[in-house]
Symmetry: none
Subunit: 401 residues, 2 copies
């Protein structure tokens, strides 16, 4: 079933849908036979909601595939994450909270070391500390090339995000990193006619950067790769007629939400409670709400099992505030798994709960991986969740007579 097919069946309704995403929600037990983070957490509110819900496990991109936050979010937003790929440069810029525009071209940047002949001696400039990198970035930010605005944004150590903004920029560009030491950095080449101007601009930027950094060894040169604009996605309004709001604190998630046409709200603080407060405040203004909780993933990636458990419990404690708003449909899920034992994202399917007055409730009074494995949503592609939510929200009409 593709988006176009669904789009034709969409009808307006007064219902409200909440998509509550606990980043990296899925987990693993610390030891064989043990409980996962979600199973270990004391979650009376999730459990009570689970009993009236239909449960399942979502697969973000495909069997065995571990996704980053970009594709993981596109999938749970209802998009095919393989069809709509967000380029690395664009992700890098979103990841540092940069408000990437639809015509901006972004890239991943590295400081590197070159000798007097321009030959790379260290692709990471000795992993210079972030503070040193920030000083150099200030230098690079002074560069001007006619008609094009540059943004150079610190990421970590030798890494930065690079963004160009201007008329007629195109991202079909070759990379400048030869991917090995002992070779020169490469000039950017246009990979199609439309990108010739952009290639020229980037090469001028690099030339000026080279001059500015000449005496800054080990960080005396830069490489740029993964040039990418944001992909153009059909928006929630176009696809579903939804007026959607995003409540998220971190840049990556705000960026991906903007990409699908959600209005990204300003949250009056950086706690999960602040996000729930933002939800309450804007409740009358939208009919779809994406609320993102980052902490669960942060603890998972740090290998902090107890921290992840506590983060889940914090959200559980806030759930009554969400339910008090009487949403018609509530989805609680994740963009991917991040088991503390793996200290990373993983390929494991992600627990999901879908509540509405009209679900065929499984009557399973628990929200956890194994409970969800018994749920009647089954194991489903993450992108299938939104259509089911829309149906429960009375927003899909009958196909055929």
């Amino acid at each position: 079933m593709n988006a176009k097919f669904l789009q034709k069946l969409i009808v307006p309704a007064q219902s409200k849908i909440v998509l509550l995403i606990l980043d990296g929600l899925g987990g693993l037990p610390l030891e064989p036979g043990g409980k996962t983070e979600l199973e270990s957490a004391c979650t009376p509110n999730f459990d009570a909601l689970a009993e009236q819900s239909t449960l399942g496990l979502t697969v973000p991109a495909g069997p065995g595939i571990t996704v980053g936050s970009g594709p993981g979010h596109l999938a749970i937003f209802g998009y095919d994450p393989i069809e709509y790929e967000i380029g690395r440069g664009a992700l890098e810029a979103l990841g540092v909270d940069f408000e990437l525009g639809p015509d901006d071209v972004a890239a991943r940047g590295n400081f590197c070391s070159v000798d007097q002949d321009g030959i790379i001696t260290d692709r990471r400039a000795g992993r210079i500390p972030s503070e040193a990198s920030c000083e150099l970035i200030k230098l690079l930010s002074t560069i001007k090339v006619d008609g094009v605005e540059f943004f150079v944004l610190p990421v970590k150590e030798h890494r930065f995000a690079f963004v160009m903004r201007g008329e007629g920029l195109d991202d079909a560009l070759s990379e400048t990193d030869p991917l090995k030491v002992g070779a020169s950095t490469l000039p950017v080449r246009a990979l199609r006619r439309e990108s010739e101007k952009t290639a020229r601009v980037v090469n001028q930027f690099i030339e000026q950067a080279h001059c500015l950094l000449a005496k800054k060894h080990p960080a005396n040169m830069i490489t740029l790769r993964g040039f990418a604009k944001l992909p153009t996605l059909p928006t929630y309004r176009e696809l579903y007629g939804l007026n959607a709001a995003a409540i998220a604190i971190n840049g990556m998630y705000r960026g991906v939400a903007r990409l699908v046409g959600m209005e990204v709200l300003n949250v009056g603080g950086d706690t999960v409670a602040d996000e729930f407060a933002a939800l309450e405040e804007c409740w009358d203004d939208f009919d779809f709400f994406y609320l993102h909780v980052k902490k669960t993933d942060t603890f998972g990636e740090a290998g902090d099992f107890a921290g992840k458990v506590a983060a889940i419990e914090e959200v559980d404690a806030l759930l009554p505030r969400l339910l008090a708003l009487r949403p018609d449909v509530v989805i609680v899920g994740g963009d991917h798994s991040s088991p503390a034992v793996l200290k990373s994202h993983s390929w494991h399917p992600v627990p999901v709960l879908l509540y509405s007055k009209y679900v065929r409730a499984d009557g399973i009074p628990e929200f956890g991986e194994r409970a969800c494995a018994r749920g009647s949503l089954g194991i489903l592609p993450a992108k299938h969740v939104i259509p089911i939510a829309l149906a429960n929200a009375g927003r899909i009409t009958k196909y055929g007579a």
Copy 2:
């Protein structure tokens, strides 16, 4: 998710994966409410492994589709069995242990009866006994047509496999069997320019065969159909960077394994224990091992429920030898179901168990059809098992950031 997408995410690792296939594993109870063959078998080792594994049911080609061993194996090897079709002629040759080369053209052959005008009076030559057929095959094996080598291999009764080996052969050929009595056998026609030479060669072979068989009524003529080369499949090395070994005794399975680039090992005997010994011997030399057990299917097709139960128990007793090698990932499954009550292959989904240190274990202490139906792998296309195994083996990197 297609193979190209997965291929780009493959990374090297030191891990080892074992794919243990019990041919025709899936079954049915003898009577309503009873247990299947696998459920009836006493399998303490499979059951213990199941408890630490994730369970599911595999669908080889699609809902309701009963597959032969060729497509069933391609699917559990991770290939789409509908996209990659192994032609009937090629399967017939593989099925009699013939080492079909990549440029050989194979066909299914029948002896038939014709009258003095060449009109078919019996398409199966009265189902002549295999012994009589073998004598005639010796005659046919004397035929020479310039530059092309022929192999005529007995199958059963009036059936034989026919293989041509030579330069520039092509399999786009029409069939010679009119599929009814009262009609003449048909000359082979080239279905494209590249197969013109091959058509000429086949017609010369048939003409000589007709002369040699003239006085051998009822088997006084042959028909050939299902002309096919082996399909070209991307190999395990190309797709996954895997150095794969196949341990199988019967020709068909050795042939299909060779098709995907596995190294087909010589087993020092014809028992299942000999196959496990081969696994132990080559353990250090490969990182993927396919081990095929034929008996389960043989008993299933023979309608021998108790025999199939005993065959499963025999494999269960050998499992500790496999586990003693400390594989990182173990898959136990089948290529299709072969319930003894049906005396044939069937469409029923096939039990599968996937063990690794990193699976989210279902904690179900039983390996059987209904236990697997409760497992968190769910009911999945057979081709999805290998990607999940690769993920568990640390051989797939993250998609997107």
